[in-house]
């Protein structure tokens, strides 16, 4: 397993569209020094869906602390946010 695989995370944000979601999530990532490598965003059945690929190589806190901060943010925004290491998706969907 390479370091890259271990450092890449996927942040999935879903919920009702409103002003400032991207800014708020990006700000939080900046605060914890999580680099954003890619962003995809769509509206599905009136739902805002944003998926971000982040890299936690330079993150200074533990994964748990970072995740707690993101979950706190999800409450503030009333959006559902999932943070997971990217490897789970790679493994599940490729032979």
């Amino acid at each position: 397993m390479s370091d890259l695989e271990d450092n890449q995370i996927i942040i999935t944000v879903t919920g009702k569209d409103k002003v400032g979601i991207v800014a708020a999530v990006s700000n939080c990532l900046k605060k914890y020094e999580v680099n954003i490598e890619d962003i995809k965003q769509t509206i599905m059945q009136d739902n805002f869906v944003m998926i971000m690929l982040g890299n936690i190589k330079n993150m200074k806190v533990t994964f748990r602390e970072f995740k707690e901060a993101i979950l706190e943010l999800s409450k503030e925004l009333s959006m559902e946010i999932w943070v997971q290491k990217k490897e789970i998706f790679d493994k599940m969907h490729t032979i």
């Binding site: 999935t12 890619d38 994964f63 995740k67 789970i88 998706f89 493994k91 599940m92």
Partner: protein, 455 residues
């Protein structure tokens, strides 16, 4: 590489969030063979210290991995070498004392269950085994997390019917001793034919004598993922298509288990053992094997056709899962417990599912009669008859079969037993009221079966 597939990410999250995909158990298999000595107190100390040494980080690290990958790891468990093999070296053997030491260690490291309070008596008893059977009910009744199992038969050796009778009596005595908790003690005990040595599932997990010093075995789950996929399939899709779909879902479930297992094993610095390719339900609605039968087109589990549905499901789960993992083992297949599956409970309530149909289903499922509550006044000989039938299916068909049955003292058909947690609640099922006494009382051993001239 910054590519990611939005559809796949959302599918994975949906599987976890809506369809209850989870890692059912991470089970640390731990050998106790170096804990034998002539004094029971010293033996208990050695066992306790070894469990603490190897398992102290199991729960903490599993929680960390669960957090990093956002997938629930429902249970953390330990499986030990069958205790009868360790305890019988003591001059002053006291199995209840050993049980309490093991249970204390399990509580200390914070696991959900600790198994391996077991004996392998498929061909006969040693002096230590006989004492083990005598003291087992009290050991089960005086502990919280301890799980026990016995192997009563194999396809190679036949079935030890003396042990079947003793086991029925152990079940009944344990039920009586724990009657204030709806006979919960009996739910922590299972008897096998052809027990496997690397099973991560309770109550039957133990570390076989052929196993390494320690290893991490994984049991995956996700019946909800399979049932929802089949439900979305066209109603006219033929069995080939249904089977293919199950294979694909089983692959996805298993790769996730493999990933989590390997990560956790690495963190614990112990070898990765096997993945048990399993569909194990929980009492949560939607996390049900019974729902898969309904999605396939049966009105209720137990309807004619259920055995075929289960046979196909079990086979497709194995076929899909085997590609996804480098080492497959354990009990691999679909579990059909009653109390742990809301759909099965409903089928029993509607009289769609009987103990006889369940017995037929065990000839093609992953294990056997599981978490079935029966009236508390069921005679020992009838319980022995139920066990004997199940052992026969395993012995002749060269498969693992088991019985985990709970005679609920003070309750009868129409009432419920409440076990709580993953064990759920069970409607008490009717058993055949005709006597098996003279049959089972013959005792002795059923000779090993012929493995040719199959019909």
């Amino acid at each position: 590489m910054s590519n990611f597939n939005q559809k796949q990410i959302l599918e994975t999250i949906r599987m976890i969030k809506i369809h209850h995909l989870d890692i059912r158990t991470t089970t640390l298999s731990l050998s106790l063979r170096d804990c034998c000595c002539s004094d029971v107190k010293k033996t208990a100390d050695k066992i306790y210290n070894k469990i603490i040494k190897y398992a102290k980080n199991l729960v903490k690290f599993a929680n960390e991995i669960e957090n990093e990958y956002s997938i629930p790891i429902v249970n953390k468990r330990i499986a030990l070498t069958p205790i009868s093999l360790i305890g019988e070296s003591c001059d002053n053997i006291d199995y209840v004392y050993l049980a309490q030491a093991i249970d204390k260690a399990g509580c200390e490291v914070g696991v959900d269950f600790i198994g391996g309070f077991s004996a392998l008596v498929d061909k006969g008893f040693t002096k230590g085994d006989l004492l083990f059977f005598e003291q087992l009910p009290e050991a089960l009744a005086s502990t919280q997390k301890l799980c026990s199992s016995v192997n009563l038969g194999t396809s190679k050796a036949g079935v030890n019917m003396d042990a079947v009778i003793k086991t029925a009596s152990v079940i009944k005595k344990t039920a009586v001793l724990t009657k204030d908790k709806d006979s919960l003690g009996a739910a922590k005990f299972v008897c096998f034919c052809n027990a496997v040595t690397d099973n991560p599932f309770m109550a039957g997990a133990f570390c076989g004598i052929n196993e390494a010093e320690c290893a991490l075995n994984i049991g995956v789950s996700g019946p909800g993922v399979v049932s929802s996929a089949i439900a979305e399939l066209d109603k006219t899709a033929d069995f080939g298509e249904v089977s293919n779909l199950i294979k694909k879902m089983a692959f996805k479930i298993t790769t996730t288990g493999e990933l989590i297992g390997r990560k956790l094993a690495k963190k614990l610095n112990i070898p990765f053992g096997v993945i048990d390719l399993s569909l194990a339900p929980t009492p949560l609605r939607g996390d049900s094997v019974a729902e898969i039968f309904k999605a396939m087109g049966l009105e209720q589990p137990g309807a004619h056709g259920t055995t075929m549905a289960l046979a196909m499901l079990n086979d497709a789960v194995k076929k899909g899962g085997i590609m996804a993992s480098s080492y497959v083992g354990g009990l691999s297949g679909a579990f059909i417990p009653v109390s742990e599956d809301s759909g099965m409970i409903e089928a029993v309530e509607k009289n769609a599912l009987t103990i006889d149909k369940l017995e037929a289903m065990t000839s093609v499922c992953s294990v056997g009669l599981d978490m079935i509550a029966i009236p508390g006044d069921t005679p020992d000989s009838t319980i022995a008859g139920i066990i004997a039938d199940e052992m026969a299916i395993g012995m002749i068909n060269k498969k693992t079969t088991a019985v985990r049955i709970i005679p609920v003292i003070g309750k009868t058909v129409g009432q419920y037993a409440e076990f709580g947690g993953l064990l759920g609640s069970a409607p008490i099922m009717k058993v055949n009221s005709y006597s098996s006494l003279d049959f089972v009382s013959r005792g002795g051993r059923v000779p090993a079966p012929l493995h040719s001239l199959n019909n």
